[in-house]
């Protein structure tokens, strides 16, 4: 146990040191608040640079950070490694790697092709299998005995430019993650969020960045509040609420062309847009008839259909993956709880019962879980309820947690929380065992929305 803790500490220190160098220009920076000792050890060997002078990029650093953040892997300290091979052929002693207890080792090489093009080659190796076969396993293929190299789990090569290094690192992380877990990786995704700095003339910003906070882009600056970004299923457009005309209105914006259009401007609340899984409809909250109710708009025709009708608050619609029903928050039973409405029959059923109140429900991509903001004893935490058995688990221990959004592979939740009196973003793995904070340098960061697979 002690060894595990020391190991974690070493990795944590080296990781934060590495990250603090790399993120000088970035608003977001990952700080791991809690590791988990059940994460699987993995060796990410520094990629070997086959050219002159300094290596052009530290691929291993990005990949280690990705794998660590997923909560599923625990990349070992590079100082512990028995060598730094760049390819499987250079691994002299599989047993030495197997003794480290690593499930897999990632090795890679980078060489300059011409001008600004680099060849990046990598292999994911099972050292235990390599130890058994000596790296020379043979298998019958079409009746002939051939070298199978079955200890090499994955091996790929690509030509990339320097401005693609970071993106390609995330791509490698995706390949490693899928090879070892059987699930698609979500490292090549983005988040949209609202950034507020009251010291600025236009305090409200709609932002997009890589999922890890890098490559931040401002999509919109406004003197009035911006809220509730929601991704289109193709990942190229955002719906959000803007108060630029003194009252809430829902806008759509293309994140690449900056093209933008107003979707709704009804009297009262125009809020909480949520794009349907097929991209043709928008669920939203309107209060034009009095109390806030859930509506679904056909985006092409702008026709709206009223889904709920209750004199108390209904808000926060979210689509189930099949597009046939919505979860939403309602006060119809007294305190706010999550309900589910069938879009055909309009039948409403209460879903949550744990704690004083549950809000901000988000259905997981497999449809088998519901992530909520759970209020208990006046504390707001992110919780997860399994469907249909109803098992409930509180996942976070931070303060004033809200706005959960789930990665498209269902592995992680990004949410807004309060740290040192400021709103920041935080990550928690779906099982609650791994937690990280993404502090901002100044201002408040909130309302994160995780993109679909891009």
């Amino acid at each position: 146990m002690k060894r595990v803790l020391i190991g974690l500490l070493v990795v944590w220190v080296s990781l934060t040191a590495a990250l603090s160098n790399a993120t000088a220009q970035s608003t977001l920076e990952i700080v791991i608040t809690e590791g988990q000792n059940s994460a699987r050890p993995i060796a990410v060997v520094p990629f070997q640079w086959l050219g002159e002078g300094e290596a052009p990029y530290n691929f291993a650093e990005i990949i280690m950070a990705d794998l660590r953040r997923s909560g599923r892997f625990n990349p070992i300290d590079q100082g512990q490694m028995p060598g730094q091979p760049g390819k499987d052929l250079d691994v002299s002693d599989y047993a030495a790697w197997a003794r480290l207890g690593v499930e897999a080792m990632l090795v890679g090489e980078v060489s300059l092709l011409s001008g600004n093009r680099y060849q990046v080659t990598y292999e994911l190796i099972d050292p235990l299998r390599g130890q058994i076969t000596g790296g020379t396993a043979q298998a019958l293929v079409d009746g002939a005995l051939v070298n199978s190299n079955d200890h090499v789990i994955e091996g790929r090569s690509s030509v990339v430019g320097p401005n693609q290094f970071r993106q390609y690192s995330h791509r490698i992380s995706d390949v490693v993650y899928e090879a070892l877990t059987g699930e698609r990786g979500a490292f090549l995704t983005r988040i949209a969020y609202i950034y507020v700095d009251f010291e600025q003339e236009n305090p409200y910003h709609l932002m997009v960045s890589d999922y890890d906070g890098y490559n931040e882009r401002v999509l919109l600056r406004s003197p009035e509040p911006l809220m509730s970004p929601s991704w289109s299923p193709e990942g190229n457009r955002l719906a959000y609420v803007s108060f630029e005309n003194g009252r809430p209105e829902i806008f759509l914006q293309d994140i690449y062309t900056t093209e933008r259009e107003k979707l709704t401007s009804f009297p009262g609340i125009n809020g909480s847009p949520s794009w349907s899984p097929d991209g043709t409809k928008m669920a939203m909250v309107l209060s034009k008839d009095g109390a806030p109710d859930i509506y679904v708009m056909d985006i092409a025709s702008r026709n709206i259909e009223k889904i709920t009708d209750h004199w108390r608050i209904d808000t926060e619609p979210y689509w189930t993956p099949d597009g046939k029903s919505l979860t939403f928050t309602s006060e119809r039973g007294g305190r706010a709880q999550i309900y589910r409405v069938d879009l055909d029959t309009k039948r409403v059923r209460r879903v949550t019962f744990e704690g004083e109140a549950n809000l901000g429900g988000v259905v997981t991509p497999d449809g088998r879980g519901l992530v909520v903001v759970n209020r208990d004893n006046g504390q707001f935490h992110i919780g997860r309820q399994e469907y249909p058995n109803g098992n409930f688990q509180v996942l976070t221990q931070t303060t004033l947690d809200e706005s959960p959004s789930v990665a498209p592979n269902g592995s992680m939740i990004i949410y807004s929380t309060t740290h040192n009196g400021k709103q920041v973003l935080a990550l928690v793995s779906m099982d609650g065992r791994f937690r990280a904070r993404l502090p901002s340098r100044e201002g408040e960061v909130k309302a994160p929305a995780w993109s679909p697979f891009l």
Partner: protein
């Protein structure tokens, strides 16, 4: 003798002052600082020189007192709410009555009631709660005779805090409705 004359003059002045006050339009400018001011002045009733008359501070009518107090109250545009509540607290009854009095006397004037919340709870829920606070104030004003057409409610939820930070003190300042003319 001289005292008697003085009192007579005073009585005349007071009645003129009161008449003037009654005649003045109750609408628009409720400021009564000019109508009540009286100072020393020469008499013009043919008395020989050498005398001066003085006057007392004019007494305000109850209506004038009320208007003055309302004008003062209307300097205040914010009322505060309890956590997760949208009921208007009794301590703000007079403040809202002052605004309602002004609005019903001036039916062409409109007001935007902004609803705000503290940071607790989700942003979307707080938009709804802020609107409920705004509506609660709007209903209060309508019950005092303000026209629906004079009132617009806009909820900003937790997006425009008056006080920063996560203390009970900051929260209590942020749970508010603001009347914006």
């Amino acid at each position: 003798m001289q005292l008697n004359k003085f009192l007579k003059t005073l009585a005349v002045l007071i009645s003129i002052g009161t008449l003037a006050a009654c005649a003045s339009s109750p609408s628009e400018d409720m400021d009564s600082s000019t109508s009540g001011s009286t100072g020393s002045e020469q008499t013009t009733d043919g008395t020989r020189g050498g005398v001066e008359t003085g006057s007392a501070e004019r007494m305000q009518t109850p209506e004038e007192q009320r208007q003055e107090r309302y004008a003062e109250l209307r300097q205040e545009h914010i009322i505060y709410f309890d956590f997760d509540e949208s009921t208007v607290r009794s301590e703000f009854a007079e403040l809202l009555t002052a605004h309602a009095d002004y609005l019903s006397r001036n039916p062409s004037v409109t007001v935007v009631i902004e609803g705000h919340t503290d940071e607790r709870g989700t942003p979307e829920y707080n938009i709804a709660l802020g609107e409920r606070r705004g509506n609660s104030v709007a209903t209060y004003l309508r019950n005092l005779g303000v026209l629906s057409s004079q009132i617009e409610v806009v909820s900003f939820g937790e997006e425009k805090p008056l006080a920063r930070g996560s203390s009970e003190r900051a929260w209590s300042q942020n749970r508010r409705a603001v009347l914006v003319y």
